[in-house]
């Protein structure tokens, strides 16, 4: 539909010029909107990398810079809240760039009538999360919108980090033969949120995995491992993150279904609700792409850290079938995974 040579007035993506929830779902609709509107218009070379953050060089110092909006509903959930999530989301995007977090900003959009006590609880949680993650919140902004024009509170955070190890990890470094490692069990964040949504309450002891990951990543660097790429698989889950990396690196990725760590409670909730855990959001996990020779040391290193005790090697990178994510399962053999077009579970982060 879009002709790259024609920058004059292409029709905006989406239905009759209107944004749909699916445009924020982390699937194909989101990607299309980002590529065909934001990247096209902003024309930034680092934006075209489509990484979790961008890398900028200032007087020889390599910095990572990233930003993230948080609209999770409800704002308080098992294992966290929108405040701690806003800190973790940003420091983890920096960590995925291989950057030690230095400073953060936070911008609040608050709906008129939002309880001050809840706001206080969120801000305290944010402060504690920032301290725990070793990052300072150095600037911010506060806006209030009329009752009915927002939904409680939205928080946007941006972060700056320093890259201390070269080459910095990016999806385009991924090569055939590389191994895929995940730092822990998947699908916990999305399911924890779903379990308390008022239209879907189900009893479970599922808790969000929301957590800062720089400490874990720095231990990997300290062990002498230089990941080719890292990614925190948030919205759209493991499948969306991996299929995007397969596309950007022009490789195929094959997952071993039996190797993917998944708690029994999460597996049961997914079966019950008819959801695929590969598509469910995580907020405290890191995906690593490393050379095959580094796999064993990476697993040992991750498992020695409290956040990585259940780390597992889950797949491999191949040439051929560029851009396609496969999963190998028994029975059934190898099949392609198609990421969802639009919204599966809205407002999960």
């Amino acid at each position: 539909m879009f002709n790259e040579m024609n920058f004059t007035c292409p029709p905006p993506p989406g239905y009759k010029g209107k944004v749909q929830m699916g445009h924020g779902g982390g699937g194909r609709m989101s990607r299309k909107l980002i590529r065909e509107l934001f990247i096209r218009e902003f024309k930034s070379a680092s934006l075209m990398e489509e990484h979790d953050g961008s890398i900028v060089t200032v007087d020889g110092v390599r910095l990572a810079f990233c930003t993230d909006g948080h609209v999770v509903s409800p704002p308080f959930f098992p294992g966290g809240d929108i405040g701690s999530l806003a800190v973790h989301g940003t420091v983890n995007d920096l960590a995925a760039c291989g950057a030690r977090p230095i400073a953060m900003s936070s911008a609040f959009v608050i709906e008129e009538g939002f309880p001050i006590a809840d706001l206080e609880r969120i801000v305290r949680s944010m402060a504690a999360a920032a301290e725990h993650a070793g990052v300072e919140i150095v600037t911010g902004d506060t806006k209030v919108v009329e009752h009915g024009k927002g939904d409680g509170v939205f928080i946007t955070t941006s972060g700056i980090g320093v890259i201390e190890h070269e080459p910095a990890p990016t999806p385009r470094n991924v090569k055939p033969g590389d191994r895929v490692v995940i730092s822990g069990p998947i699908a916990r964040h999305g399911l924890a949120i779903l379990s308390i949504r008022d239209n879907l309450m189900f009893e479970s002891d599922l808790v969000s995995d929301s957590a800062p990951l720089w400490d874990l990543v720095s231990r990997v660097y300290a062990a002498g491992i230089k990941p080719r790429c890292m990614r925190d698989p948030t919205r759209g889950g493991l499948a969306a993150a991996l299929s995007e990396i397969a596309e950007l690196s022009a490789t195929s990725i094959t997952l071993d279904d039996r190797a993917i760590p998944l708690a029994e409670a999460a597996k049961n909730a997914c079966e019950f609700l008819g959801l695929d855990p590969l598509f469910i959001a995580n907020e405290g996990l890191m995906l690593f792409f490393v050379a095959a020779d580094d796999e064993t040391l990476l697993l040992e290193t991750l498992r020695s850290h409290p956040r990585g005790t259940q780390a597992a090697a889950i797949g491999r990178v191949d040439s051929g079938d560029a851009g396609i994510l496969f999963v190998e399962a028994e029975p059934g053999g190898r099949r392609a995974i198609d990421i969802p077009a639009g919204e599966e579970l809205p407002r999960i982060c």
Partner: protein, 374 residues
């Protein structure tokens, strides 16, 4: 997970494939009626594992796929009426009517909500007495008891702001229509386990007797599906036609009497126009006159939907739904028709045959572990 892992056991699955292969002396054509079974077959590569001995034909058992475009158009028109809330299952919101779907109505400002149960829609009606709440009720006998229960609950609560668009359909008349169609190739059926959990076995016995066709009530996991197929093949090879129940861990011969009573109390059986297939006698449900105040089409008689004309579309979903062609035999499949730009409902729905083929067969599965036992 109990009742799950053992039904996905690769060793048992391989043994069943062997059993089917050693039983068959010719190729048999078997239709799985339920869209959930279609997805299981495609996901686990069962069709490829049985190539040459069993041809699996996908049936019409995707409820949102057979919901007429006119019903969706009217739901969209109601969603655009100020003061209304339309609730339905997630899939129903994605399926296009003549040109738009309910998500589009939502982007235009309509209040369209996904619910997991019709009773959630009743709860919404109770919480918002100043709004008209409409539940768009679709599905086979699996979901019609829940819709009936929702209506009865609304009556008990004396709600005057709750109504239903009813597009419920029945499986047995569809089986008869498929068997009686000219050029039918289907020699046996896997009946849908969940539907039979509600209906029991009674309605299938006359079909087996009059049409001399094996029907095996079957579950949804790979071992279920393979066992259902094995039982069909064993009957076919012996020239028998019986009703068998593979899914006995859920289906009792008498079904679920409470659910059947609720359906009978609220709904009456009518002829019904299946999307892409046409009118099948006695295959649909309508709200009985005593409950007419809960019929959304009675409450919103003036909402005219845009007129529908699907004849010009290259979509061949009717032929897919009745098992006459496989999804990839449609010229539009994967080219002009994809999950992002669906031309027909089977490409959108999680139970649609076209979406199953698109999801699992875009890259041909050459390495099925089950195939390797050949």
């Amino acid at each position: 997970m109990k009742y799950l892992d053992e039904y996905r056991d690769p060793k048992i699955a391989r043994a069943l494939v062997e059993r089917i292969r050693s039983t068959t002396k010719r190729t048999w054509t078997i239709m799985e009626l339920c869209g959930g079974q279609t997805h299981g077959i495609m996901k686990f590569g069962l069709d490829a594992a049985l190539e040459g001995v069993v041809e699996l034909v996908h049936g019409p058992g995707c409820p949102v796929c057979v919901t007429p475009a006119e019903a969706i158009d009217r739901a969209i028109a109601i969603a655009r009426t100020p003061g209304t809330i339309i609730c339905s299952f997630g899939d129903m919101l994605r399926v296009p009517g003549t040109s738009e779907n309910l998500f589009h109505a939502r982007a235009d400002g309509g209040d369209v909500r996904v619910v997991y149960s019709p009773l959630d829609a009743v709860a919404t009606a109770r919480k918002t007495p100043n709004r008209e709440v409409v539940f768009f009720a679709v599905g086979f006998e699996t979901t019609s008891p829940a819709a009936a229960a929702a209506l009865l609950e609304a009556e008990r609560l004396a709600l005057d702001n709750f109504s239903l668009i009813v597009s419920h359909v029945r499986v047995p008349p569809a089986i008869e229509a498929i068997l009686d169609a000219p050029g039918n190739r289907v020699q046996a059926f896997l009946a849908a386990g969940h539907v039979c959990t509600v209906t029991g076995e009674a309605e299938y016995l006359p079909i087996v007797a009059s049409r001399h066709v094996p029907i095996v009530i079957t579950g949804f996991e790979p071992v279920d599906l393979l066992e259902g197929i094995a039982r069909c093949v064993e009957q076919l090879e012996k020239g028998e036609s019986r009703l068998e129940n593979q899914y006995a861990r859920s289906v009792r011969p008498e079904g679920n009497p409470a659910a059947l009573r609720a359906i009978a109390r609220v709904f009456e059986v009518v002829d019904y126009a299946w999307r892409g297939i046409g009118v099948i006698p006695q295959s649909g449900m309508r709200i009985r006159p005593a409950f007419r105040r809960f019929d959304a089409f009675e409450r919103f008689p003036t909402t005219s939907a845009e007129s529908s004309s699907e004849s010009s579309s290259p979509c061949r979903s009717g032929e897919v739904l009745s098992g006459r062609i496989k999804p990839h035999e449609c010229e539009a499949f994967g080219s002009t028709c994809t999950p992002d730009h669906p031309l027909g409902a089977p490409m959108v729905s999680a139970e649609g045959a076209c979406s199953a083929h698109y999801r699992y067969r875009r890259v041909i599965n050459k390495e099925s572990l089950l195939c390797s036992t050949k």
